[in-house]
């Protein structure tokens, strides 16, 4: 027994030693600069993004005008506020973005931003976008990071907050966050459609054959292959190339080139700017200084915080560590485990996730499908046996109807809603859905079993057996 115990003990000691080493590595002081650069840039982008959203009248179009909303499972209680309330939410979002930008009551500002932004996103899954999800995650992460330690009104108001260094894990956590997005987006591209058939780029690129200079190339099939393979390699490698000093600058050039190209070719809004900005967190002070010298700014160090690392931050800073200790031992490990599980959960469902969409959201599946659908609900009155079709376009907005047409969970939600509406009018009905979907240029076919009464089907996380293979 004793002979067994000894190696166990030495393992424990080794583990403890490694844990200590990890702890030391995570806690060692690192320059605060990447953190504050990200904070300022994120605040500015969110301000722009919120203003753009309001200016395009999307508050009204997405959250006020629609009569029905596709809420997320378990979040059915999240409802839009009356119009004035919705505009107030967007006003507050802009205000929070300014607070983050200026570092004014930063922690309150970024917490409120996270809560309000996530509230808006939870209202309707028709508008789900990976980059909105990324913003929710990033703002949540920023709650736990001391990004107001420099270049902030908070630091001016409370000199005790001023710090030139932060524990290394704070910067690493942001790098891991961005790395996860890219790597999972890259893994998601390792499919036969993307790599072997160059789909959907093969469908999308020819539409741009009158693009300046590059246009004629987009009519060539090999261009779609080149873009597909380059895109997958880019996503898989870029976090590592950004991390490694010798490749950092060319990697950032690739980031800019990649995202600007996608912005020029596809209507993807703010996503490119957000990703370009986020990768700045891989830069060191020397990278920033070099970049600024290159842009003709030579006095960078004089208008930034003192670059000398100060391991001891004084009594006030130490008291703040309580908050961050909680973050590093309690919240963030769970946060990242969750993020490792979410993109992989689709493997728990049978069938092709691009077709079934089970586990498709929150998984960095970006630009993988050209999908079009048409759904018609067939209502049968139980008492009389009379049947009639219902199209959703009367009640839904075109955007909602388009998204619903190829997403089984949304079709189910709407079918149940229809049944409830008829029931409220005194007609017990069964509702079936005839949904035709085309995925990446394949002939449109039935998505769901048209004989299943969806009014009686369950809406949960389990596999929906009525999705046809």
């Amino acid at each position: 027994m004793a002979t067994l115990r000894i190696p166990v003990r030495s393992d424990k000691a080794e583990v403890a030693g490694r844990t200590d080493a990890l702890r030391t590595w995570l806690a060692r002081p690192a320059d605060i600069l990447p953190l504050v650069v990200l904070r300022v840039a994120f605040g500015a982008l969110m301000l722009w993004s919120t203003a753009r959203f309001v200016a395009r009248d999307w508050v009204h179009e997405f959250y006020i005008a629609p009569q029905f909303h596709f809420t997320y499972l378990g979040f059915g209680w999240v409802k839009p506020l009356p119009p004035a309330g919705m505009y107030l939410v967007f006003g507050l979002l802009a205000g929070c973005a300014v607070a983050v930008l200026l570092g004014w009551r930063y922690r309150l500002g970024v917490t409120l931003f996270f809560l309000l932004f996530t509230y808006v996103e939870l209202l309707d899954k028709s508008y789900y976008l990976n980059h909105y999800y990324f913003i929710s995650l990033l703002s949540f992460l920023l709650i736990w990071l001391p990004a107001n330690g420099a270049w902030s009104l908070d630091a001016r108001r409370q000199p005790a907050l001023v710090r030139s260094t932060v524990p290394a894990w704070t910067v690493r956590a942001l790098q891991v966050q961005i790395g996860l997005v890219y790597v999972f987006a890259g893994l998601a591209k390792l499919t036969p459609d993307w790599l072997i058939h160059a789909l959907p780029l093969r469908i999308w690129l020819p539409a741009h054959s009158d693009f300046p200079l590059l246009g004629p190339l987009f009519d060539q099939v090999w261009t779609a292959y080149a873009f597909s393979w380059a895109g997958a390699l880019y996503d898989l490698m870029i976090p590592f190339l950004l991390l490694w000093r010798p490749t950092r600058r060319p990697a950032f050039a690739a980031v800019v080139a990649f995202h600007v190209t996608t912005r020029l070719l596809f209507p993807i809004g703010m996503f490119p700017w957000i990703m370009i900005t986020a990768t700045l967190v891989f830069f060191t002070r020397e990278d920033f200084a070099q970049a600024l010298r290159w842009l003709g700014v030579h006095h960078f160090c004089t208008w930034t915080v003192a670059p000398v690392p100060q391991p001891d931050q004084g009594p006030v800073a130490r008291s703040k560590r309580g908050w961050m200790t909680w973050a590093v031992v309690g919240v963030l490990p769970l946060f990242f485990v969750y993020q490792l599980v979410m993109p992989l959960r689709h493997w728990a469902y049978p069938g092709d996730v691009h077709w079934t969409e089970e586990g498709y959201r929150f998984a960095w599946k970006v630009m993988l499908v050209e999908k079009t659908g048409h759904v018609r609900f067939l209502v049968t009155e139980t008492a009389t046996g009379r049947k009639w079709p219902v199209t959703a376009r009367t009640e839904l907005t075109p955007q909602q109807e388009k998204q619903m047409a190829f997403q089984p969970d949304m079709i189910l939600q709407y079918a149940r809603h229809l049944a409830a509406q008829y029931a409220a009018a005194g007609h017990a009905v069964e509702v079936r859905a005839e949904a035709y979907v085309s995925l990446n240029g394949r002939t449109g076919r039935l998505l769901l079993d048209p004989t299943v009464n969806l009014a009686a089907a369950h809406n949960d996380l389990g596999h929906k057996r009525w999705i046809l293979p």
Binding site: F211, V221, P267, I268, V366, M367
Partner: protein, 357 residues
């Protein structure tokens, strides 16, 4: 496998498809002519209404009715092109259903019922459906209908209103035709915005969307509502479009005819249209060229509509199977356009622009 796939696709060797030329052809060969034809018929309608207002005889009424039919049929070939910039004109020309109560209110009122009045009045009180309401009534003999227009002061106001409406209709259709034909007009903008997916104004995207909207409108409203889709499965003949004239089915036919010409880019076999673009993109449907499948389905839908005995308001009750067959054929066509064609073209089938990723 990759090489095989590359070699299997012949597009690389082909000359690039000239979308702008396709759209230019569509404008010159189809869009401008159908709008001109509608405007010409509407001008004749205005003359017929004027003649009837001057001499309200059964013969003049019959002539007016006949000209209304011709105008409506010509107009329906243009109904497809209800792009955002011309949407208001479209509803001023043809907003259905018309508001009978408002119309009777104007006639019973005291305002001067001239062209200026008709120009100002809301879309539900004018255009083709309002004229139809005034000059057709399947429940009464023509003499009784003519009597409405001759009976005293009210009759005179009714004559004034029908003439004013016809005149406004002629003006609006002429305005729309001019917009399409002009060098800086809708037609030029349509051709310039040739890139689909680029933004919502991409013409191919817009055209596809309008084809979808038209087919949905036919299936859901022009056929579905009278079939009982709004009334718990019980047929509702009053919901037919153009029920008074009995032209419902003919108008649906004209809608489909307009759609055919838009799809083929003209009437001649070598006119270049969306069908040729689909073929260029190697779009297939179960191994067949998608363009041919859509073309065949348009023919099937036309045949199914023709197989219904007019008028539709009667057929929904006496021959529901035939109406159902027409509905099914149009739904099938809708699926081909909205699901398969839209997928191959990679067009965004929405009106609202949004960030995507």
């Amino acid at each position: 496998m990759i090489l095989g796939s590359l070699a299997g696709c012949g597009r690389g060797a082909q000359a690039p498809f000239d979308r702008e030329a396709m759209l230019n052809g569509l404008v010159q060969r189809v869009i401008v002519p159908v709008h001109d034809a509608a405007a010409a018929e509407a001008a004749t309608l205005a003359a017929a209404a004027h003649a009837f207002a001057g001499a309200p005889t059964p013969a003049n009424l019959a002539a007016l009715q006949e000209q209304w039919r011709r105008t409506a049929l010509a107009w329906k070939e243009a109904e497809l092109y209800a792009f955002r910039d011309v949407m208001i004109l479209h509803s001023q020309i043809d907003k259905w259903p018309t508001n009978e109560r408002f119309i009777e209110g104007f006639i019973a009122g005291t305002e001067r019922l001239d062209a200026a009045f008709a120009a100002d009045v809301g879309s539900t009180s004018k255009g083709l459906p309002a004229v139809e309401y005034l000059i057709f009534d399947p429940k009464r003999p023509p003499d009784a209908l003519v009597a409405d227009f001759t009976a005293g002061a009210a009759g005179e106001r009714r004559r004034q209103y029908v003439a004013a409406l016809a005149q406004d209709l002629a003006a609006k259709t002429a305005e729309l035709a001019a917009m399409w034909a002009g060098p800086d007009g809708q037609g030029a903008a349509f051709i310039a915005a040739a890139t689909p997916g680029e933004d919502l104004n991409g013409s191919i995207s817009m055209l596809t969307n309008e084809m979808i909207v038209l087919l949905e409108d036919i299936a859901q409203h022009k056929l579905g509502d009278p079939m009982g889709h709004l009334s718990f499965g019980v047929p509702a003949p009053t919901f037919v479009e153009a029920g008074r004239s009995g032209a419902s089915l003919a108008l649906i036919r004209a809608d489909l005819q307009g759609l055919t010409r838009a799809f083929h880019g003209g009437d001649a076999p070598d006119d270049v249209g969306l069908d040729d673009y689909l073929t260029y993109l190697d779009a297939e449907y179960e191994g067949q060229p998608l363009a041919a499948v859509i073309s065949a389905q348009i023919d099937a839908a036309l045949a199914a509509v023709d197989a219904v005995d007019p008028p539709l308001r009667v057929a929904v009750e006496t021959d529901p199977d035939a109406v159902q067959a027409a509905y099914d054929a149009i739904e099938q066509l809708l699926v081909l356009v909205k699901v398969d064609m839209a997928n191959h073209l990679g067009v965004t089938v929405t009106f609202s622009d949004n960030d995507g990723d």
